[in-house]
């Protein structure tokens, strides 16, 4: 624990030094970079020890404020979530020193470095706090540091608006958390997590209320549908390295909160678990559909965060079902998938945002329709982006595949569980759909940004970025590959976390996940064979071409039309058109079809269709009762169907005793 705090202090001191050295921006950046890197390396020791099975002593600060002493400690769950903070967060911070160098907001750059350092430290404290007040205080520091980083480019009005929406959302979440801990603390000795957990079995009906309110409160941070309304705007408005840490790491604290709540409160009721599963399905499918309709690179990536939170919730829901129906296997597998995806998403999403930042710096644009052909001009950035894309789509042999594989197994074993949990099997179909749609979406992004002709002079003039840009990205890409090819490195420690969440001893969890851990070696074998086949076929192809000798270069074949231009390429919107046309009504996508262009825009349904109208609707509530009498035969019949279905459910639920 002290090693961790020492490391975090170094990070914080580096940030402070950056502000002090503000007059020499290069020095400030270097100090911040070195301090963050070194501090994170030192801090990484403690969580790795805990995940290896060690028990570290907790740190208690005696205080006079009510609510008991402030305790900080590391268990497996905290340690696991610290890994992405220290890996992806540090990579993003180091990338930021290059990314912000020479910006118009020159004066505020060192303050941004300090904000980053504060954010990293606050993340570390949120994840280790074991008392409510310490937790909420760190939570608030984290939220505010995030806010100041998001509004870094506050000259632009849309940035200010995005920041404001973010601020309101995060405080609404905090308010809910205050309610949760307040209600709970009433029944407990004090507000430390230990006494809260002690009070949990006697909560009665409050148990479910706390779980639900907590899910909503933490959900506002995690950003699942329909609480995601602030997320795409805030993540797109922030500087790219901030987007990387917000999307990759900060939203995971919401997931951490839900998991912590489960650990403290114990097994949830089945309807709560099914609800989480349903939220996962909605977030996954809708998130990727919104991303498909998007043609702003960073906003698209932000919507993919909604999708990936959905995948995490699918695993979490399966695990919670395992708790509800007392099936340790299901619980362990589900939570294993969820926490693995937390790590993997942090790695590949940060990587993708960093690459988007490089593209933005090189071309000045993040509009898909204005890019193109960057693969030849920025080969390293392209390589990093394609690795991240393959990982987020869940293709072997990268890390995204590993966690989706575990989530699939969890859903399938739920199917064979011979309990009502078996309905979770249909979540697997949703996961398959999400994977397929994500593939289409990233094919669109890769194609329109990196392949084909450059669509604008800016894209034509793009040059590869420097090592300060691709260095941190390379580390993340390597991590994606390592986890994908050697999954046991991640699965081994993750089993410890899953065991803690499922409430089974480590040995039992290890025994239950034995098949998955053995399979990890088969995955490595598959990756090796795949790479070998690619190499052999590539060599054979080169050899065949050399022997034939007749290799020519020519224009792209356009079915006889001789004068093709960059404007004739398939645009990103057109690429996604078949799927948008199909799912548009479901996801609320607005299509603009004019003679000179075709574009699609997702509507921020939760904000524009729910929150704003909800306000207006409450004012006109009385006037809105009448439209029930719509006069449509189909509608009346629908009422009958709904009533019949409700009655059937009532009969089924009451077991025939009305």
């Amino acid at each position: 624990m002290t090693t961790l705090l020492a490391g975090l202090s170094v990070v914080l001191l580096g940030g402070l030094a950056a502000v002090i050295l503000a007059r020499w921006p290069r020095w400030a950046a270097s100090v911040h970079r070195i301090a963050t890197g070194a501090g994170a390396l030192v801090a990484l020791v403690s969580p790795l020890k805990v995940l290896g099975g060690a028990h570290l002593p907790t740190l208690t600060l005696p205080t006079n404020v009510p609510g008991g002493a402030w305790t900080f400690g590391l268990d497996a769950l905290s340690a696991w979530f610290l890994i992405p903070v220290l890996l992806a967060g540090t990579a993003a911070a180091i990338f930021g020193t290059s990314y912000l160098a020479g910006q118009e907001e020159e004066g505020s750059v060192p303050r941004a470095h300090l904000g980053m350092a504060v954010l990293l430290v606050a993340l570390g404290l949120v994840l280790t706090a074991q008392a409510t007040l310490a937790f909420l205080a760190s939570w608030e520091v984290m939220a505010l540091a995030g806010y100041f980083l998001v509004v870094f480019e506050d000259r632009r009005p849309e940035v200010r608006r995005a920041g404001m929406v973010y601020l309101i959302a995060t405080h609404a979440g905090t308010l809910l958390l205050v309610v949760v801990f307040g209600l709970w603390g009433n029944r407990a000795f004090d507000l430390s997590f230990a006494s809260l957990a002690h009070a949990a079995p006697a909560l009665g009906s409050l148990h479910a209320v706390l779980l639900t309110l907590g899910l909503l409160g933490f959900g506002l941070k995690a950003g699942f549908v329909p609480l995601h309304f602030w997320l795409p705007e805030a993540h797109a408005a922030a500087p790219s390295h901030v987007s990387a840490i917000m999307s990759g790491v900060v939203i995971k604290t919401g997931i951490y909160g839900v998991l912590r709540l489960l650990v403290l409160l114990g097994a949830p009721p089945p309807w709560w678990s099914f609800g989480v599963l349903l939220l996962g399905v909605c977030s996954g499918v809708l998130g990727v559909l919104w991303a498909l309709a998007q043609h702003d690179l960073k906003r698209l990536l932000a919507y993919h965060s909604v999708e990936n939170i959905g995948i995490i919730l699918l695993g979490l829901g399966a695990g919670a079902l395992g708790l509800s129906y007392r099936s340790p296997l299901l619980a362990v597998l589900g939570f294993l998938g969820a926490v693995l995806h937390v790590l993997n998403h942090a790695l590949f999403k940060s990587l993708l945002f960093l690459q988007a930042g490089s593209v933005l710096r090189a071309t000045g644009s993040r509009e898909l329709e204005h890019l193109g052909g960057l693969g030849r001009r920025m080969p390293l950035t392209w390589l990093g982006f394609v690795v991240g894309s393959a990982a987020i789509v869940g293709l072997p042999p990268l890390n995204g595949f590993v966690s989706e594989w575990v989530v699939f197994q969890a859903l399938f074993s739920a199917g064979s569980s011979r309990t009502p949990a078996s309905l979770a099997l249909f979540g697997a179909a949703a996961l398959g759909l999400v994977g397929g749609l994500a593939l289409a979406c990233f094919a669109k992004v890769c194609g329109s940004v990196f392949l084909g002709h450059p669509r604008t002079p800016a894209a034509l003039a793009a040059r590869e970025v420097g090592p300060g840009f691709w260095g941190p990205a390379a580390v993340l890409a390597a991590a994606c590959l390592v986890v994908g090819v050697m999954p046991w490195l991640a699965i081994g420690p993750a089993v410890r976390v899953a065991g803690q969440l499922a409430g089974v001893p480590w040995a039992r969890a290890a025994a239950l996940t034995r098949p998955a851990r053995d399979a990890a070696q088969q995955i490595a074998l598959l990756a090796a064979l795949l790479a070998g086949t690619v190499a052999v076929l590539a060599m054979a192809r080169t050899w065949a071409l050399r022997r034939a000798g007749a290799v020519a270069t020519s224009e792209t074949w356009a079915c006889g039309y001789p004068r093709t231009s960059a404007r004739m390429q398939y645009s990103a919107s057109s690429f996604a058109a078949p799927l948008v046309a199909l799912f548009g009504p479901l996801a609320g996508v607005v299509v603009h079809r004019r003679a000179d262009g075709f574009a699609t825009h997702p509507v921020n349904l939760a904000l524009e269709r729910i929150l704003v109208p909800l306000w207006e609707a409450t004012q006109r509530a009385s006037a809105r009762i009448r439209p029930i009498q719509h006069g449509r035969l189909q509608l009346y019949l629908l009422y009958i169907v709904a009533t019949v279905a409700l009655l059937l459910f009532y009969l089924a639920a009451s077991g025939g005793k009305p």
């Binding site: 199917g415 078996s422 697997a428 759909l433 994977g435 034939a548 020519s554 074949w557 690429f575």
Partner: protein, 303 residues
Amino acid sequence: MTSWLCFGLALVLAPLLPGVAQRTKSWLTGRRGPPVLQLYWDLARLWRKGAVFSSVAGASFRLGPVVFAASGVAAAMLLPFANNPALIRFPGDFVAFAGVLALGRFALVLAALDTGSSFEGMGASREAAFGSLSEPVLVLCFAALALASQELSLSGMLGPALPSWWAAGPALAMVGAGVFLVTLAETGRVPVDDPATHLELTMIHEVMVLDHSGPDFALIHYAAALKLTLLGTLLAGVLVPAGQAAAVVRIAGWLGGLLALAVAIGVVESVMARLRLARVPQLLTSAAVLPGFAIILLLSRAA
């Protein structure tokens, strides 16, 4: 040993299936048609030829076909042929099977987009769209099989643990129908795509590989045939009850199943027209309902 033999057989015999389908089609429409071995000659000819590369295309264009073919080979290693255990098998390997096939699709789509051609972009867009819809169907089929056999690996699902036709006939039939429709969609066959069309605007798979030539084109053709063989093997595994029979019998059953699939594709292509593109999602939705209903049946029986 038998697993290796079957793996080799699948790789060698793959180009035969499109030939059989074509021959059936020709025969049913009163023509003689090309020889059954035509694809082998085509592949040999393409492999010996040179190639023309677009000045726009880069490494993605050149690597695409290689990865596509390699993904087919890797998927073949994950599949149990003729009820023999697969070369690589582990719980949840069906995810890897679908993932490896998706990797091939991703590589081919990127290769198509690398040319900057609007035609190829169009083909790639359709391939990605329909591929994303056939993925959940495939997952639902695997889910039904997993439920019926209580196994989590392909070798287990299609092995002796799969219940007999007598015990779970309707469910198996619906899963089989689902796999068949996925096969048609994924391998670019009527009614989703027409391999024999001449109009670029109506093509999916063929227009996506418009710019490839020489050995690259040979790799794509081979890998497409291999994909058909793999999905056909899956179908045969579901529909041909082999159980504990001798290895020779099982291999004969598997090859017979593949042959029947090729003939069935030929029949479908001669009696049906292509669907309008807007109707393809509807076909795939219906395809999803079949294994979905199978799952409901299996679940209600288990409960």
